[in-house]
Amino acid sequence: MTAFSNQSLMRNKYYSWIIKNLFSSWVNSLMTVVAIIFIYEVGTFFLNWAIFGADFRTNFRGELITDRTLCSKNISPGEFGACWAIIYARWDQFMYGFYPIEQVWRVNFVYVLLPLAIIGILFDKLPFRKYFIYFTFIYPFLAYFMLYGGPGLSVVGTNKWGGLLVTLFLGVTGIGLAFPLSIVLALGRRSKMPIVKSLCVVFIEFIRGVPLITLLFTANVMLPLFLPDGVNPDNLLRALVAVTLFQSAYMAEAIRGGLQAIPRGQIEAAQSLGLNYWQTTRKIILPQALKIAIPPIVNTCIGLFKDTSLVLIIGLFDLLGIGRAALADMTWTKLYYEVYVFISLVFFIFCFGMSRYSLYLEKKLKTDNS
């Protein structure tokens, strides 16, 4: 074949794909045209707003923006672009909350090591995976020591934590703690022992029957009333307990779905080989069940990660709370779009990452027996 005919073949291929998928009838053609116009209009508007017409650190006169009155859009009526200076000015708060600025390296240290701690669990083909897994188990203690402080490091109370730190802390720790708990609950719910079973059922159904906000309020408001005066568990920890319990109930149901999808024959086969309950569960049931349950588990994780922003109502400053506090400051007030777009972007990065990972895992674990 000549290069020319090859090219025209390619062109024909695209051409026919376009005809077939976008312009197969006049209704479809119309919708395609409308959709293209819509995407173009919205896309160009957004890009102009967010990038081309936007102020980053300086306005159109080249001055450094230190408060909202210096934003181009507040100087000249013709300008409408975003004013990202608020994000620059509040960057430290968005990332670390009110963490003392000279100690921020500790948070950065924990942030940098987080991928190293997770990577061992995520990818099984990793070289030296064993050591990464060891690190995964050390990491929580290391992170806690670095963040909170202890011998050799000054103590930074959790009330100084905020922004992405709180969001990640609640999200990662909540998911991490809820995972083992949820396996126990899911197995317990399928147990033949009546007390264990009913305990698990009551726990799961109770937690799933109330909204997360209720749990947060209970943990935040009710708990201290039951405890003696002056005994106040840490605010962030209370939220963490609520978040963990909430997540474990939902994850347990996802895992139960996986458990129920395992054919009875698998268990019987394992038993006939002489495996006891724990061996059967650990070697036969759970690996298959968890695989099946990956999509719903990731679903609940994504849900939880976003739900962490509810802690705002009990006065914790997560990423969203920091954003709102920034808007309440007279220096920056009214830059709603900038703040909320930025926060959405951060949440999107994490949630999209989780979602892509689950797709990857599903593809990898697909063994075509289901």
Binding site: N220, V221, M330
Partner: protein, 341 residues
């Protein structure tokens, strides 16, 4: 079973380990001194009253009351730990002892004072609920608002006042409930409601931030009394006295013309009340269990009431609130502190 049991035990342990036992039966004053810092309930962010600035430092006239108390107790206005509270959790947080005082634009009402077990120790801002509408609506009085949709912050006295006002005038409204003040503001700006109601101070603060402030009017009707002030727990009068007189010291400071700038010169004043206030004539600090220079510390580190007002919400700030009711009694307002003797 044992698994579940150990699960609950470990959960309890988690709670227990992180528990800071601060000693349960001491007075708040002792507790605060022992802890070395004041736990002060603040807003999660209200411009001019209490909000963190770019450097993460809390600022506002409510925050200044916390700082005044810290200056009185420790001689250092910066020894405050701010606990951001939403309108729903603020009272429980105070009752449970998590904070030592609440200074968070909270209206002093009978039921809160009596039924909720709080003690309001004074008023640091006299406010009243007002209505703001867009000029395009063509409304000049709140009496013309029948059938309007109103953005309202849930769980506040504002919500009840609104219902009372409309009921008393035989009008109806459609409420658009929101969680925080900034959300109410955003909803109003986005046109989700015709009327934005909150304390007049809040309305002015919001309006100042609009691209075109003159397109919005604050209606003349003020439908409620909203004395905003700091509160402490019931039953610890010594502590209540300290907070009350810390606030009073700021007001008396203005009355006597003592500012953070001239406080040192005023120490050699001829006015006996100035000398008593600044601790030159000893004895008054000891009555409160404080050092004699407690009020001096407040005035030198935080400033008097007028300084705090002008710095955070006065006419030279974007919030631009006139003193009005909050001027001293001798300047036409109702701000009045009992004599210092």
């Amino acid at each position: 079973m044992t698994k579940i049991k150990s699960l609950f035990i470990s959960l309890l342990l988690i709670l227990g380990v992180s528990t800071a036992i601060a000693g349960s039966h001491g007075s708040t004053h002792d507790l605060v001194k022992e802890r070395g810092k004041l736990m002060c309930g603040s807003n999660t962010g209200l411009a001019g009253f209490g909000a963190p600035n770019d450097a993460g430092v809390w600022e506002g006239i409510d925050v200044d009351v916390c700082r005044a108390v810290a200056a009185a107790v420790f001689g250092d206005a910066s020894k405050v730990e701010y606990v951001p509270t939403t309108s729903k959790v603020r009272f429980t947080v105070l009752q449970s002892g998590e904070i030592d005082m609440l200074s968070r634009n909270t209206t002093w009402t009978l039921s809160r004072d009596v039924d909720l077990g709080l003690e309001f120790v004074g008023v640091n801002y006299y406010d009243g609920q007002g209505f703001m509408v867009s000029k395009d609506l063509g409304v000049s009085s709140a009496m013309e608002l029948d059938g309007a949709s109103v953005c309202i912050q849930v769980g506040t006295t504002t919500e009840m006042n609104l219902a009372d006002f409309f009921k008393a005038n035989g009008m109806s409204y459609e409420s658009v409930p929101v969680e925080t003040n900034s959300e109410a503001d955003a909803a109003y700006t986005a046109g989700r409601c015709d009327v934005y109601t909150t304390d007049a101070s809040g309305l002015y603060a919001s309006r100042a931030g609009y691209p075109d402030p003159s397109a919005h009017v604050v209606l003349p009707e003020i439908v409620s009394k909203e004395p905003l002030g700091p509160a402490v727990r019931h039953g610890d009068s010594e502590w209540a006295d300290i907070v009350r007189w810390s606030l009073n010291a700021m007001i008396i400071g203005e009355e006597l013309g003592i500012t953070s700038g001239n406080v040192d010169e005023m120490k050699s004043s001829n006015n006996p009340e100035v000398l008593r206030l600044l601790g030159v004539d000893a004895g008054y600090g000891a009555m409160l269990g404080l050092s004699d220079d407690w009020a001096y510390n407040i005035l030198s580190q935080v400033g008097n009431y007028s300084e705090s007002f002008e710095k955070h919400i006065g006419p030279n700030t974007p919030i631009n609130i006139q003193r009005g009711l909050n001027a001293l009694y001798k300047d036409g307002g109702i701000l009045y502190a009992p004599p210092f003797r």
